[in-house]
Subunit: 351 residues, 2 copies
């Protein structure tokens, strides 16, 4: 769309030379990446009306979009290198949750002003993550506006092997990868919540979880084809798990005090640990369900990929009990409704 | 990505019930569309970590993204119905310029507050355009933030039949569809530029061109396979044509006073007509190049689709003359460099 409907005069960012600079930064990154990984170069990349991808026979194309707004999803003064990495990582996490292999991504970027150092650092972070997962930048759009980042990531998945939300069955195990809750603990610290006492090493570790999530692409690919349902944890473990329960029309029993947490979170008070692990968000781990017969196969995958995979509950046959989830404490006793509901709070994105 | 990093308290839009409303509006539109056009339903639509599309054998996937920011690409008080239509139309226009058939689109929407009437009107416009071009909504994201719309549209095109920017050859004809310049005239009127005198019928007509562009999907499909290069006109005819010249490494001679314009623009002063037609932007017509041997075929397509197609110049062998374009007046005389350069001004989006 033409960029001049509301503003007859161009501001500094609209100066053609400066737009050319932005373009050169992202094009250079894409070209450098194509030289490193020529086998994953798109049929047509940046520089035409559309990018073109050539799907392999028998594969489905997976598509996901995430919009990140300054002051909402990240602080306005966020480190641009980390922000670049995270912007792509959260989209790759959605591909992982579908068991998809990354093919490429588009970037739309609204910038309030021209800050060459910021743009270069953001691009460095973006391409660091893109290179790590062999996911090339294939196109996009830049304009002036309040700092907003939109990435659409595309991936491929063999037909009928995608990991959807809707296949979970009664008696399936519920699994979660890695540990959950550290990102929420880091957010609590940044907000001065809960009077936390954390040393520098602990802070570094949990901030890494908040700002540099690792999408579980390899794990998603290893799990596809035999697990019954999967989702990535962006809004909180229990809230996201409920999307599986709803889509699959099943209920769950969760062993709340057995959720896998880091040593740092393990040391916190019980209510903080539960809140962070069960409802924290920003974990970008995978939560999935699988028939009990696959336990040893899942343990093997855990061993091979060096990613902890923990059984955190099971699907049970009590559909009529709202909210379709029972939380059990360490003694196997169900939590009361109020406490359960408070842990089920989660943002409800439109997806 | 979790939606709560910067704001510990939720505002009204984050209320789960209100997000559920937004979700229901867009889901309902997608479901209604699937009932009307079941053959174009995605393998997996809204409601999972990713959407899934099943490409046909031998087809490439075309991808394009446009970000529209309030106060920049549209006025903050723009009619939401028209805005919904235009938001999708500008992306479909990019698919048209590649000769692609629409497959689906994702929508990311940042909204400053919850305005049910606005959202419903926007969605009505969006789905009106989606239905018209059989292009289903397959996923997306909503959040709070300054009003920003990002659409990523996907299409399919037979391998080796895509209409790229890079195939133009010396001696090719240069063509443009429909008429150009009315959208710029409407913008000039809205900005009180040039002391224009236009009656109500004229205003209705040119505002329609500005606010309700028609993507040339059918035309793009009809042209693919034999034209040498193509682009859609979003930033101004000559500026966009230069992308073809640059990508193809050729030069052009343009018959400036033969550019196809509406009766309304024809009546305006010479400098206004030239400015609007040559550098106006927001036309969303197709500009393409083709070997001279295809003139009758192109005229037949024009007749069959009832879309005017006009030859506006030709590619010539004088590469060394910057800016690779000579503008000729009605007497065949070349315009001077200053006037030529002023008509070549165009925004330079990163694509």
């Amino acid at each position: 769309m033409s960029d001049r409907i509301a503003n007859p005069t161009k501001n500094s960012l609209e100066n053609m030379g400066e737009f050319a600079l932005i373009e050169s930064v992202f094009k250079a990154g894409a070209i450098a990446m194509a030289q490193i990984n020529p086998e994953n170069t798109p049929a047509l990349g940046i520089g035409d009306d559309c990018a073109l991808l050539k799907p392999k026979e028998g594969e489905l194309i997976a598509i996901t979009s995430d919009m990140l707004v300054s002051g909402r999803h990240f602080f306005a003064d966020a480190d641009p290198f980390r922000l670049g990495k995270k912007s792509l990582a959260v989209n790759l996490s959605d591909l992982a949750a579908m068991g998809a292999n990354p093919l490429g991504f588009t970037l739309s970027l609204a910038l309030p002003n021209m800050d060459e150092a910021w743009i270069k650092a953001f691009a460095r972070g973006l391409f660091a993550k893109a290179n790590q997962f062999n996911c090339p930048l294939i196109g996009g759009d830049t304009c002036t506006g309040p700092l907003t980042i939109n990435i659409t990531a595309l991936g491929s998945v063999p037909s009928d092997h995608s990991m959807r939300r809707s296949g979970a069955q009664n008696h399936d195990d519920i699994w979660v990868s890695g540990t959950v809750g550290d990102a929420r603990l880091a957010l609590a610290h940044a907000r001065n919540e809960w009077g936390l006492h954390l040393n520098d090493d602990q802070l570094t570790s949990i901030n890494q979880r908040l700002h540099e999530p690792i999408p579980r692409i390899e794990l998603g690919i290893a799990l596809r084809g035999f697990v019954s349902a999967g989702i990535d944890i962006s809004d909180g473990l229990l809230g996201d798990l409920r999307h599986i329960l709803k889509a699959s029309d099943v209920s769950a029993e969760i062993w709340l005090d057995l959720l896998p947490v880091s040593c740092i979170l393990q040391e916190q008070q019980n209510h903080i640990r539960r809140q962070c692990a069960a409802a924290g968000g920003d974990d970008y781990e995978l939560c999935f369900t699988a028939p009990q017969c696959h336990r040893s196969r899942i343990q093997e995958i855990s061993h091979d990929l060096d990613i902890p995979l923990t059984r955190i509950g099971q699907l049970v046959n009590n559909k009529r009990i709202a909210p379709n989830m029972t939380l059990l404490d360490q003694d196997g006793k169900a939590l009361d409704t109020e406490l359960t509901n408070s842990l089920l709070q989660s943002f409800d994105h439109f997806k």
